[in-house]
Each structure stands twice: as structure tokens, then as C-alpha cells.
Symmetry: C2
Subunit: 388 residues, 2 copies
């Protein structure tokens, strides 16, 4: 099985929303398609992928370094000699050839988006959904029939910071979600308090609301926020401080007894290991949110899962950042703890596939081969155009 052509483009992810750290007006993401020489049911197998949201597109890196390496690879370097099928585990070292250690950012996402497209192609060539392929290969055949999900939203909307949030929470709960994550730390404390209390009221309990500080709190404001949040018995308190400030993470964990969640801005197994070693997180309650696609894709994410388990954590405490269909497959196939979903179905990167429903805060994986983009029309409008 050979790669015939790789296409990529940059798509806008503009949204009139912001969190405590950044605005999203100029946000972009990469879309990738990998056409292979394999045909299934008469049609060529094409692997598709979309970036995780929040770190911009990676078109330059893809064109300058990573697509050329993949295109130059011989079939024997990237295909399983027994089945002849494309094997993303073999392609990964080709992508990472002559890359120095450390500096895990940007390239980690460029490699991750290509890796995701290769997995889509590999699963399609095998005629199975990606979650099934991953379960068979890496989880002893065991995949989850339904996946716990949560709604990711609650951004600051300057015109109506409290009322719009309550409406958003009600809408999500009516659609079957059980938990919604909202933004904090981007407004004065009294506004944040009003927002949190309105969200809890709308959701029907603190345990249904998680809060995300997007890494902006410091040595003074972090513990102060933790003290305020202690009043609410929340689902979790996410990314209180700089993702690399493990000392401060530990200090906050020492004063906040509820669940913490972090890791979405650490993009390698080496960084993940450091969080586990130094961050003072608690394996009985905290959540680890490393993003599969931003962290060099599945081969590196499997090393992260291994590091997590070697540190004595159950893998159910892994709830990847991202909210896209590729990550959903990884969660279902590897038996992780849950999946993030931006509930607006109009989003190309977020939203549920067309016709999927949420029941009791859970959704069932689909049966389409590969990642399943073919079941999400707005994603296919972008991806399908990549191969002319």
C-alpha cells in the first residue's frame, strides 16, 4: 500500500469567543488528505484529518518538512510486510527522522495531523472503524460501547456574560449532556461567581459544571481562585496555571481538594512524565488532558498512556483535549475516561457527526470505516475538496 498524493489546506476557525488567555478571531487549522493506491469497493482509500483547535494551522511545517519526508518514504518503510497495509506506527519514525529532542510544539501538531490521516487510511483499508482497529491492536480487542462525553463551551461573550451562559447550559442539558465546561478567570471575580452560579443553577448541580482558567492564574491568583471554587463542588477545575509550572500546579493541588485537570498544552511523553513526577496531581481524582493530535499523534500518545499507567494511574483518568472525531475514536478504542465535545454541530472541527445523539451524557461510536468523517457533512465539504 503506497501513498500517491498528500493534500493540505488551511481553514479559518474564526469564532466570536474568547477564553482567559486568547481570542479566536484569527484562529486557523490544517485539513489533510492522503490518497493511497488501495481501493475498497471501487473507490480509492483516502485518509483524512483535521487539526485540533487552538494552536493554528501547520501548513508551512507540513509542506517544508513532514509531507516531503512521507512522500519520499519507500513502501517498505511505511507498510506492514505481512498485510501490505499502511502502518502509521512505521511511518512515525520516518516523519521524525533528523528531528532533535525537546522543543515539543508546532511540529508535534504537524506530525499529529499527518498521523491522524494515516490512521484513517489504515482503518479504511482494513474496512473497520478506527476505534475498532485501535482496540484490536492496542487494547486487547476491548472497545467501549458508549463513551462518556462532556460539552465544552461557556466562552466569554462580552455582550451577555451571564444570561447567554445559562441558556447555553440549559440547551446542552436538554440535548442529553450531563456536564458542561465553562471559561473562568477572564473577568472580575464577581462576574465569574455570577457566571458559575448561573451555570450550576441551569445544569442542576455543581458536579455538572467544570471550569477552565486557560492557564492564566499565578502564585497569588491561583490559590485565591481555588478557595473561591471550593464553595461549589465542581466537576473539575481545569488548567489553573501555566502548563509547565509544575511547582504551582502542586501548590494548587495541595489547597484544592476537588478534581483538577490539565495537560492539554504539554505535547510529548517527556512533558507528560514531568507533570506526573512534579505536578502533585492525584491519581484518584484528577484528569489528564493531553491532546492526541497536538502530541505527535497515536504513537507518542501510546507512550503517554504507558507513562501514565507506569506512574500508577488508571487510563480512565485520561480525557484528551480536542473534541474532534479522531480523538473520539482514540478514547473509545483505547478505553480512556471520556471525550470533549464542542456541541455546536455547525463547527467543522467540533460538534457531533450528523445524526448522532447524546444519551445520559454518553454517545456510541459509529460504524463507518476509518475516523468517520464521511458521516459529518461539513467536515467532508472541506476534506473532500482536497483531492481535486
Amino acid at each position: 500500500m503506497r501513498i500517491l498524493e498528500i493534500g493540505e489546506t488551511t481553514i479559518p476557525v474564526a469564532a466570536t469567543m474568547s477564553n482567559a488567555a486568547i481570542g479566536f478571531d484569527e484562529m486557523t487549522a490544517s485539513a489533510v488528505a492522503v490518497r493511497t493506491d488501495r481501493r475498497v469497493g471501487g473507490a480509492p482509500v483516502i485518509g483524512y484529518a483535521l487539526d485540533s483547535v487552538g494552536r493554528y494551522a501547520h501548513g508551512g511545517l507540513l509542506r517544508e518538512r513532514f509531507i516531503p519526508r512521507l512522500e519520499a518514504a519507500r513502501e517498505a518503510e511505511i507498510a506492514d510486510p505481512e498485510t501490505g497495509l499502511l502502518d502509521p506506527m512505521r511511518a512515525w519514525p520516518v516523519l521524525m527522522r533528523n528531528e532533535k529532542p525537546g522543543g515539543h510544539g508546532e511540529r508535534s501538531a504537524a506530525v499529529g495531523v499527518l498521523d491522524a490521516a494515516l490512521w484513517d487510511a489504515a482503518a479504511k483499508a482494513a474496512g473497520v472503524p478506527l476505534w475498532r482497529l485501535l482496540a484490536d491492536r492496542f487494547n486487547g480487542g476491548s472497545a467501549d460501547e458508549t463513551v462518556e462525553i462532556y460539552a465544552s463551551g461557556g466562552h466569554y461573550r462580552p455582550d451577555d456574560p451571564v444570561g447567554a451562559l445559562a441558556g447555553e447550559v440549559q440547551d446542552c442539558m436538554a440535548r442529553g449532556f450531563r456536564t458542561l465546561k465553562m471559561k473562568i478567570a477572564g473577568a472580575p471575580p464577581e462576574i465569574d461567581r455570577a457566571r458559575i452560579e448561573a451555570a450550576i443553577d441551569a445544569a442542576g448541580g455543581g458536579g455538572r459544571i467544570a471550569v477552565d482558567a486557560n492557564a492564566v492564574l499565578d502564585r497569588e491568583s491561583g490559590p485565591r481562585m481555588a478557595a473561591m471554587l471550593a464553595d461549589y463542588d465542581l466537576a473539575w477545575f481545569e488548567e489553573p496555571c501555566d502548563p509547565l509550572d509544575f511547582d504551582l500546579t502542586r501548590e494548587i493541588a495541595a489547597v484544592y481538594s476537588g478534581p483538577l485537570a490539565t495537560g492539554e498544552n504539554l505535547f510529548s511523553a517527556a512533558d507528560a512524565r514531568n507533570l506526573l513526577r512534579y505536578g502533585g496531581l492525584r491519581k484518584d481524582r484528577d484528569l489528564l488532558q493531553f491532546d492526541v493530535s497536538l502530541s505527535y499523534g497515536i504513537p507518542e500518545y501510546l507512550r503517554i498512556v504507558k507513562a501514565v499507567e507506569e506512574a500508577g494511574w488508571p487510563r480512565r483518568r485520561l480525557v484528551p483535549h480536542a473534541g474532534h472525531l479522531f480523538a473520539f475514536n482514540v478514547v473509545a478504542g483505547l478505553g480512556l475516561g471520556g471525550h470533549e465535545i464542542a456541541p455546536d454541530a455547525n463547527l467543522v472541527l467540533g460538534g457531533l457527526p450528523d445524526g448522532w445523539t447524546v444519551d445520559g451524557g454518553r454517545v456510541a461510536p459509529g460504524e463507518l470505516p476509518g475516523v468517520g468523517f464521511e458521516g459529518k457533512a461539513n467536515a467532508m465539504a472541506v476534506l473532500g475538496a482536497l483531492m481535486g
Copy 2:
């Protein structure tokens, strides 16, 4: 003072050499020019910069994100209101607008190379060498009259691993260098031993030879290498293991009593702080090699210097990775510990400026305004072509 035009290109840095981690056959770097509306002596002030070697060019990131942000900035955002001159300290937050925390790689170099060009322009507009500008602004006016340097070389050359190295060492010592850094850990131990002993013989003592493992050693091979190196009383043992494996760094520091050096693949103050907190390094002997240009440039490097001093280290223990003229200015202007130089004058990114000489392992900074690229013909052949 306004920016009129920003040009960039990717140049090959091909070299038939390798270290223990990567080959350099396909290595590239970015070259950047920033033309301003200021004129000095009738000519427009143009700021130039070149990447540090080893992490590839950043053309895509520059064109996609960072050049557009700089070009869109209003003069009031990037110029000092009192002098009217371009102020790179003000431009930095413009470059980093809407960038998430964490993930310090690639973008850190794209920002760094633009920052370097802005400093070249700022110093030229002020009519002073960059080291003088930095000393006046950030070091109480105190700059070093000469800077300690070392020769960075000793790569593996498969055809003649031992003999060519001895010749290279002799050549460097004859040209006035006192210390040469060579690669190790990319060959069997008996070859490395033969290479180290040949280098020491040629240099006239172990204290004149440093060794660089390029981060490839692990929990078994790291301590084993440390035990072997203990025989030689070397200048330092560089980057023994993965730059982010602070636990292993600490284990190696516990068994190796000679100086260690690391940090060139950590690209932010947050990462630098973690190395200081967890790496077990010793402030009386070890060297910190954070690369100015790969670490978002001078504004972030100043935060690194602050973190180093707050941890009780003298700044003379900072010896930046890179070996280029911009880093040389930072070393001289901030009073750091020393400077790396790839001695081959034919290198565009390395080498001394034309006509500079090494005396007793030290060189004196030049008097050209800005970084001083105008005194290095092969660098100007690349940079001068960027502005048509």
C-alpha cells in the same frame, strides 16, 4: 520608526556531518530582513537575522503568523514613544498575541529570528553595536571587552573518525582557541575512547576538550558514559540525555563530578525554570546553554537570565547554544559566561566575522552598528539579497 517591509528566505545548511542524534544533510535555516523607514547616513536601516542551526527554517510560521502580526502593528505598539525608535521589547507581545501557553518549539524560533532582526535594526538606528545597546539597557552599561569562546566541532566523519578529529583540534588550537567541543555517543565506546584520547592529546589536556552526547543516552548508557568520562577531567559533558528528562539529568549529576552542560533544547523560561528546579545541576560548575534565538529572542532570554539569578546562579554560567553573531552580542552585552563558535569561516551561520582573530581563547566584539553582519561577507550575500 516604522516597519516598511519584511523579507525572509530559507537557506540550506547542508553539511556532511552528524552527531549522535541527527544528520544535517537536509538542515535548513531562515534568513530575515526588516526594512524600516529610518535612514542613517543616507541609507535605510535594515535589520537582519539568521536562525540558530539545528531546528530547520521557519518560513511557514513566519509567513502564516508572525510576519503578518508585525506588519499589522501600529507604530505606537512597537516604537518607544520618547525616542521614536523601534523597541523590540514592545514588539514581542505583539508577536505573541493570541498564542497559547506551553508548546515551546518552532514558534519560539520564528519569534526569535524576527526579534533578532528587530534588535539589529534598533541598534543600527541608535548607531551603536548591539552588545553596547544591550549592556546599556540591561546590564548597567557594563559590557565585556573580550568574550571567552570555544570551538564547536568534532562531528563524526565516517571515513576517518579519529585522525580527522585530531587534525581539527590541532588546527583550532593553532588558531587561538583554548577549548574544543566534540561529539560522542554516536559510535561504539572504544571508538569514542580513541576519539577522546586523540582530541586530548592534540589539545594538550582534558580541560581543553568538551564532549557532547546530543541527548541520546538513557538510564543505563548515561551513567555508564559518565563513568567512562570520569577518567579524563574534561571541560564539560554536554546534553547527556533527553533535555526534558530532569530526573535522569539529576541521576547523572549525582554520579559525575565534572561540569555538565545542557539546556540548548529547552526554549522558554518555564522550561529553564524546571531544569533548575528538578535537574540537580550545580551552580558552581555546570553550564546552562539555552539558545537565545530558539527561545523567543531577547525578551524571553532576559526572563531566563532572571530565573537563573533568582535560583542563585551567577549569569556567567550561561553559555548560549548557537554560535552566531547575534548570540555573541548577547553574551558580550549581558556579561554571560562564553560563546560557542563553529570555527569554519565558510559557514554562513557559524564562523567568525571576516578578519576577527582569537587570542588566548577570547575575541573582542566588533564596533559595527547592530549585530555586525556587514562585517561577514558570506552572511551579507544571503541577507543583502532579501531586500531586492
